[in-house]
């Protein structure tokens, strides 16, 4: 396969509806000030993805700038160590800037430029989306400000430096816990003030409509490529396809083409890995789907970690990209419908998976992605030693060196 695949316009699995609802989830719960901007965005997005010129530019940048398609790599030593027949890694870690995030920022920044916006803003947790946005803004000549919690700035100093090198302003957010959720709130508030000249590049498949749908579209290149590469490599069948879930953009990008294009009876198990942090029996985790209840945060209705009065709770994970108290609305729908299974992985399990992939394959994954890898031994127990599993490695672990060193890996 030599070219980048995109989702087709006609969809059998047809979510969301015209108002941006996935079953009861999603929607638009924001102040009136930004509603006209969201409506304009929805219209512009729809026009863009029906415009061949826009798509050609998007595809050519994914190919020549990002380096797509990313390989589907058969990891035999990992399969053996996990007790599985075959493990294929979808190498989003090999993308320019080191994660899947750039698929989406290229799409959204091209759209921003098409809409005549000179300035983009973004929130970031681990810094990957911030770096991807700053990179794309540099590429397209857009002004860029990235909102980042002070705690994440501390945890991800290298990415902060990168963003500044790339010409972006990094705006520290000291509210709340100083993590991803606070950065989203700060970016949304800022957008309310500067909505007329600013495009908000949301980094995951969440936020008010049309963001979840738009991010899904731009990230669907992951799953579309997997399907094409399976055919090309004559992989007749995968038993499971696994991705980690913070907001859930690499996961929806992985799963969506399987939901849309593969009949249910042939479809592999689709499994999302949420962060269990220090354990689900503690209050230090990020497992919105497993432990949350439906509620509204950041403009959409979805499973949410919240208190009795409806205030969002602090989420926790060793990985800055997964400590978000909510989750993209489509995942809530997929959970309720039983179309995707969601499991949880603790910090310790993720670190173990991180160490294993590093040692047996020479691939250092992001700690976020390590949550997906941590499901492999469980899947071996469930599916048996001949099973074939595909794992999306959403990013690389360079940014996590300080954290894994603090955790005592590598002595």
């Amino acid at each position: 396969m030599s070219d980048v695949l995109l989702p087709s316009a006609d969809m059998a699995y047809s979510t969301p509806d015209a108002q941006g609802f996935y079953g009861p989830y999603g929607g638009t719960f924001v102040p009136e000030t930004v509603i006209p901007a969201l409506q304009e965005l929805a219209t512009s997005y729809q026009e863009a993805i029906e415009d061949v010129t826009f798509l050609e530019e998007f595809i050519s940048l994914l190919r020549d700038y990002v380096g797509r398609p990313s390989p589907l790599y058969r990891a035999d030593r990992l399969a053996e160590a996990s007790g599985l027949g075959a493990v294929y890694l979808k190498r989003e870690d090999l993308n320019h800037t080191g994660a899947h995030k750039i698929n989406n920022t290229i799409g959204q920044c091209l759209l921003a430029r098409r809409m005549g916006k000179k300035r983009v803003i973004a929130e970031t947790g681990a810094g990957q989306h911030g770096v991807a946005t700053a990179t794309t803004a540099a590429l397209l000549g857009l002004e860029c400000s990235v909102f980042m919690g002070v705690e994440d700035i501390r945890r991800q100093a290298l990415n902060v430096y990168k963003m500044r090198l790339l010409g972006a302003e990094v705006v520290p957010v000291a509210d709340g816990q100083g993590t991803l959720a606070d950065a989203v709130t700060a970016a949304l508030r800022h957008w309310v003030e500067r909505v007329e000249d600013t495009f908000y590049v949301i980094g995951s498949a969440l936020g008010p409509h049309p963001y979840p749908q738009m991010v899904r579209y731009f990230q669907s290149v992951i799953g579309s490529e997997i399907l094409g590469q399976m055919e090309e490599k004559r992989i007749a069948h995968a038993d499971a396809v696994v991705a980690c879930i913070g907001g859930g953009s690499n996961a929806i990008g992985t799963f969506y083409p399987f939901l849309r294009d593969v009949p249910a009876e042939d479809r592999p198990l689709l499994i999302g890995a949420e962060a269990a942090g220090l354990g689900l029996d503690t209050d230090r985790h990020g497992a919105a789907l497993t432990k949350g209840t439906p509620g509204i945060l950041h403009g959409f209705y979805s499973y949410l970690l919240q208190d009795d009065e409806g205030n969002p709770l602090e989420a926790y994970s060793i990985s800055a990209g997964l400590d978000y108290p909510g989750v993209g609305p489509e995942h809530s729908y997929l959970k309720d419908e039983g179309l995707v299974r969601y499991e949880t992985v603790t910090d310790a399990e993720a670190l173990e998976a991180f160490a294993l992939l590093t040692r047996v394959e020479g691939i250092i994954p992001a700690i976020e992605s390590s949550h997906a890898l941590a499901l492999l031994p469980r899947l071996a127990a469930e599916l048996g030693p001949d099973a074939t599993v595909v794992v999306t490695v959403s990013g690389r672990g360079d940014k996590d060196m300080d954290i894994v060193r603090e955790a005592g890996l590598g002595g």
Binding site: D17, F21, P24, E32, D308, E309
Partner: protein
Amino acid sequence: MDSAGTGGSPHSLSSPGAPTPSASSSAAEASFGNPLAPAPAASRLRAAFLKGRPALITYVMAGYPDRATSLEALRAAARGGADVIELGVPYGDPLADGPVIAEAAAVARAGEGGFGLIHAIQVAEAFIRDPGVDHAPPVVAMTYMNPVMRLGLKETAGRMRAAGIAGVIIPDMPPEAAAPWRQVSQGIDTVFLTAPTSTPDRLAIVTAASSAFIYCVSAVGTTGERESLAAGLSDQVERIRLHTDLPVAVGFGVSTAAQAAQVAAIADGVIVGSAIVKRQADPREVETFVRGLAAAMRG
């Protein structure tokens, strides 16, 4: 999922099959034919605008700095001459609010045993029962959507009615998402907000949905004091009037007596929030300040 029990889905306009807030009672109460059905006939909120002069609407944060002081601040605002009390419900992610109100909410929530929607309704009830003035101004609750979802739409409406709350302002509930709330909130006015960015189409939708009055957000951004009023505010109010006969009240950034007088000259109501919350720890200061606003507007 536990939201289906009382809160239900926020989503019913676009999916007829979605659970309604209360299947058992909604048939009798609901206005399915016109989910944006307008005001209760004998609206106490509407009456506050029928005094032959612009109404003064003062925002007080429930539970800030503590429950007792916030109740005293309500009474102080009433004594000072407020025509309507807007009672803020502390919430952890107040998207539409600036630093003063957001920080007051954080202080209120950190109080003993927490402080949320139920507690705010209790404060409103205590004020309505004993307002300390002869003609108590009606109370409109300003809350975000999620506390209402969490408590349950029907439960929230029931408690508000029992407390005597006249209306609600829910800034992150657009008219398109309001049908489930409308179905359970008979007798409670629901006030929607226009923004400077609202297109004529949006103004038509928002004004048709709103009851008692229209909340005109004067400036883009969040609540809080601003040095001067938004340019073109008068035009903004006039654009709203093209769509409705309801009174138009202007808020966001009105913080001084002089600004209140300026707004009173062009609108039917003046909403002052952060400038009051800033003084809320000392109810006497609130009374003096509100008295000054009222005098300037009526001067």
